[in-house]
């Protein structure tokens, strides 16, 4: 009897621990081959045949088709520069310059990868649409209510991710630091 209870206990631990770990790894993302620059993280190997087993399982589960490395590279930001989660009720500024690329796009998604509903039907910007200063730097304001300048509506949702995609770019598997790829700062300001 004690043996049986022991086995049942061990199996319960195994199931809970093993599946919990899988769930955790697939929803949080892993550090394999990740490049983190400021608030931004990219997994360039995910767009190649060298993709790691965790990313492979994650894309099978989500249905995403990762951007191919011959096409571009995607940087994700779910936190600001100080490590706080991006909140759609607050004002967040993306400011600075971007790494060398033929062009880039910046898009807001909810945590499941859906676009964020808003009255303006505006889900992102391309590098050719935004207004810049004379030196080429720019500010993009993410806020629930309309702003002057480059405004992206957050729809007031709790949490979201910003994806900055560089197309036709030297940034990729060989990139290590902000020197190779200067990413814009992500700064949270006041909340509504």
């Amino acid at each position: 009897m004690r043996l049986l209870i022991g086995f049942l206990f061990a199996f319960a631990v195994a199931a809970g621990f093993g599946l919990g770990l899988t769930q955790f790894a697939l929803t949080r993302g892993t550090a394999f081959g990740a490049i983190t620059i400021g608030a931004w993280t990219a997994w360039p190997k995910t767009g190649t045949s060298d993709i790691d087993p965790y990313a492979r399982a994650a894309i099978a589960r989500s249905g995403e088709l990762p951007i191919g490395s011959g096409d571009g590279v995607a940087f994700f930001a779910a936190l600001d520069d100080t490590g706080r989660a991006l909140d759609g009720r607050c004002t967040v500024t993306i400011a600075g310059t971007t790494p060398a690329a033929r062009f880039w796009t910046v898009t807001l998604y909810d945590l499941d990868g859906r676009l964020i509903p808003n009255a303006a039907d505006r889900y992102g910007f391309t590098s050719q649409e935004i207004a810049r200063r004379a030196d080429g730097s720019f500010d993009i304001v993410l806020a629930p209510r309309a702003r002057a300048g480059n405004w992206l509506p957050t729809g007031g949702i709790d949490r979201y991710v910003v994806v900055l995609r560089l197309y036709d770019t030297p940034v990729g598997v060989a990139t290590r630091t902000a020197k190779d790829a200067p990413m814009p700062a992500v700064t949270a300001a006041g909340c509504a």
Partner: protein, 181 residues
Amino acid sequence: MIRWLLWLLGGLLLGGIVHLATVLLLPRTATQDAYTRLSATAPANGIMALPAPTPDDAVLPFMDPAFATAVCRYDLATGPLKLRVPVSQAYTSVSFYTRSGIAFYAINDRAAGRRIIELDLMTTEQRGEVPEDEEVTAADRLIVESPTPTGLILIRTFGPEPGLMPMARRALAAAQCGSQS
């Protein structure tokens, strides 16, 4: 007490195995992966334009709304596939994915270096059957080997601003994907 700690340790070890097994097996059992989602609507060895993603409805998660996208779901069982994509004015890319969504090859208009991206997609076996001399005469023909007999090709054209999206979609309409004959 010691006995319970041992059971716990055994459970954790087994849990590690469960974790690795589920991670490795998940791609084979996934029911919501990109290929499965698209095979309901996309024809085999033909081109289908994907609707622009909206908050309520997107075929795939994390699609870039600045692009017009078309998909060719390929099945090489009947022979190699020919792909012909005239490039748009802004930017055009072609990405190849295996049955389980691994991006094994991608090329853009600049890398292709001409007005039309022309590719032959075949399995390693079919590649071996291509006669040597034919390969020489077709030196300017790009051959891509697919690791799996089925998979997806994503053709994407860039719309630099919302007003230019119709142009991007028109450029996609000229793309061709089909069996060689």
